[in-house]
């Protein structure tokens, strides 16, 4: 009896979720102490944190799926830039309408991811290499499509002068806040992506396959898991989410910036790892990633409202990442 209790409480203390929550709680307590004259206690601060972290969080959703499948996706930031440029071109310059712009961008993103997945599954290219290639390639396409300039409402005419157009309604909609101004639309999109990831990973057969190939690819293959198509699915989902993030990024900047998203993949990986999903694959969950997203988001917000200098921010972020990961370590 007593033994059972100790065992279950030990189990509770050592569960990945509890340990991930530990890091988040530490960060929030820091925020309560260094609350910047009460700014941390206002709801607006939390709402803005959730907005600012949403784009990274959406990338982290795709990253979680890929990492559980035993891979890694370095191309998310570049695919984000590519779709941000594409979204702005289609909806601002070509004026094809919002629905078509969104659908085409999501398809483009999913194709980028699926193409990486194809090389990884079919030709056994390492995920690191295949997505590195996609990272460089997609950045190139983004620069080519945009001519190296930001794609905005200032449209260059053949004679070199500029004409200034109107911003399409869809940008305002995605950039807005809903529910009485209490939550940003991009945060709702993040929650949607988390939900989709959860359904895929926990409710569908494909999800079990993804865990299986991440755990032991050979064993999974021998027991009949379609490894190749599952890899295309996992990386395709990451590309799809990257495209969603790109649309959010463009809407929040009112332009498509071919330089957007540089090093975002590192933030996304940090969010996944801080949550406790291991890079070995086969283990982890989207809820852990949500905790990771909040931990990084709160950390950045607290440093920002206290106007901490860049040098100290980088040092503190490094310390928090390593501390959170150590907290996750199995004894």
């Amino acid at each position: 009896m007593t033994k059972d209790l100790t065992k279950s409480s030990a189990h509770f203390l050592h569960s990945p979720t509890t340990r991930a929550l530990g890091a988040l709680i530490v960060v929030i307590v820091l925020g309560l102490i260094f609350n910047a004259d009460g700014a941390f206690l206002k709801w607006g601060t939390h709402r803005d944190m959730l907005r600012a972290v949403s784009v990274y969080g959406i990338l982290a959703c795709g990253m979680t799926i890929v990492i559980i499948a035993g891979g890694i996706d370095l191309s998310v930031g570049s695919v984000l830039a590519l779709t941000a440029v594409l979204f702005s071109l289609i909806s601002i310059h070509w004026q094809w309408g919002a629905a078509l712009a969104i659908v085409l961008c999501l398809i483009a993103g999913a194709c980028c991811g699926a193409l990486s997945g194809f090389f990884i599954g079919k030709f056994k290219v390492q995920a690191f290499i295949a997505t590195l290639a996609m990272m460089v390639f997609a950045r190139g396409v983004a620069k080519w499509l945009s001519g190296g300039q930001k794609v905005s409402t200032a449209v260059q005419q053949p004679d070199g002068s500029y004409e200034y157009g109107e911003i399409p309604e869809i940008f305002n909609f995605i950039n807005a806040k809903i529910l009485g101004g209490n939550i940003a639309v991009v945060t709702v999109i993040l929650l949607g992506c988390i939900l989709i990831s959860w359904i895929l990973l926990k409710k569908l057969r494909q999800g079990r396959y993804i865990y299986a190939i991440g755990g032991n690819e050979e064993a999974a293959r021998l027991s009949g898991v379609p490894v190749k198509s599952m890899k295309i699915l996992a990386f395709g989902m990451s590309g799809l989410f990257s495209a969603a993030a790109g649309i959010c990024q463009a809407s929040q900047e009112f332009q498509g910036d071919p330089e957007a998203g540089i090093s975002y993949e590192l933030s996304a990986i940090a969010m996944v790892v801080i949550g406790g999903t291991t890079l070995q694959g086969g283990r982890g969950s989207i809820w852990l990633t949500l905790i990771g997203i909040l931990t990084i988001g709160y950390l950045e917000k607290i440093l920002s409202i206290n106007a901490v200098g860049e040098d100290k921010r980088l040092m503190l972020t490094g310390i928090i990442i390593i501390a959170a990961v150590l907290l996750q370590k199995n004894k």
Partner: protein, 318 residues
């Protein structure tokens, strides 16, 4: 066999891409023999401002007959830029324009070109010593100071300001900061919040959200570039406070700062001229054997809603 196929495919793609790229480089005049070849080494094309610089050079070169400009992009890599300069020297171009990534490592290669009789125009960022033909650039400190003085005037000498700084490890960031502080010196203007947004709009928006959460009373935001000012505006707009705050930025590119001023988002944008047109004009003088000044400081303009339709106003020299 499979490997061969893949290799053949890759080769075809690469050939196709290079074939496409070739078309973009301007061909020399048909009359040919008299045409000058200018090498332009750009330190990176990641910043819109530098894309604009190349565009300005290309436009000026297209206008002047008998000039062919070969553009190279060093992708923010000093060693790559050194190699490009060596390529220009061995190709025997008539003149080199370089916008160097940094001074010390690129000084020797510029000297090498000069010593071999190739004139070199250094654009925007400096190199060490004086073994070059001509330096063309604008003065960030002067522009920062002008922005500061304009703000003092606009706010009647008092108010609360948020300063969103560019990368403070870069000289433009340091100069735009120092010049600004000089400009507001002696007034009752307080900088109540400052943060490094690293030239990036999403960062500026994030930092501005924090400033808004902390301070009820903000009169003006001074950002070291226009995207930063725009990001701050978006944050204020989302908080319903855009009408009570003024936004001032630097760079004044037609598709960014000037557009924002026109749309009523920025109260002012201070131009940081690219010098592309000036570089080609100077190059022509050098190639025609005329004498040019060793130092050319570019005149700068500023744009406000009142003067934007007239193309901005010159900053007064002081």
């Amino acid at each position: 066999m499979k490997t061969l196929n893949i290799l053949a495919f890759a080769a075809a793609v690469i050939l196709f891409t290079i074939g496409c790229a070739k078309k973009d480089t301007p061909q020399g005049d048909e009359s040919g023999s008299e045409s000058w070849k200018i090498g332009m080494s750009q330190c990176n094309l990641g910043e819109p401002w530098r894309v604009q610089m190349n565009a300005d050079i290309k436009a000026a070169a297209d206008e002047a007959a008998k000039i062919e400009v070969v553009f190279k992009d060093a992708q923010n890599d000093t060693l790559k830029q050194q190699a490009q300069m060596e390529e220009f020297i061995s190709a025997g171009v008539d003149l080199i324009i370089i916008s160097p990534k940094e001074a010390a490592p690129l000084t020797p290669v510029v000297s090498q070109a000069c010593n071999q009789g190739i004139p070199v125009i250094v654009l925007d960022r400096r190199i060490l010593g004086d073994n070059y033909t001509c330096f063309i650039g604008a003065d960030n400190r002067k522009i920062g100071k002008a922005a500061g003085e304009w703000i003092v005037n606009k706010l009647d000498g008092q108010g609360n300001i948020v300063e969103l700084k560019g990368l403070m490890t870069s000289t433009p960031g340091q100069d735009r900061h120092a010049g600004f502080r000089e400009g507001i010196n002696g007034s009752e203007i307080n900088v109540i919040f400052e943060a490094d947004m690293k030239w990036l709009e999403p960062n500026a928006r994030k930092e501005m959200e924090s400033a808004l959460a902390r301070f009820e009373d903000i009169d003006l935001v001074y950002a070291h570039n226009d995207p930063g000012a725009h990001g701050a505006y978006l944050a204020a707009k989302a908080a319903g406070r855009a009408n009570e705050i003024m936004f001032v930025g630097i760079d004044g590119l037609p598709q960014e700062g000037q557009a924002y001023v026109k749309q009523g988002i920025l109260s002012a944008s201070f131009e940081y001229p690219t010098g592309g047109e000036e570089a080609i004009k100077t190059a022509l003088k050098i190639l025609n054997g005329k004498k040019v000044d060793k130092e050319i400081t570019l005149d700068s303009r500023f744009f406000t809603p009142a003067n934007i339709d007239k193309g901005g106003r010159e900053l007064e020299a002081n």
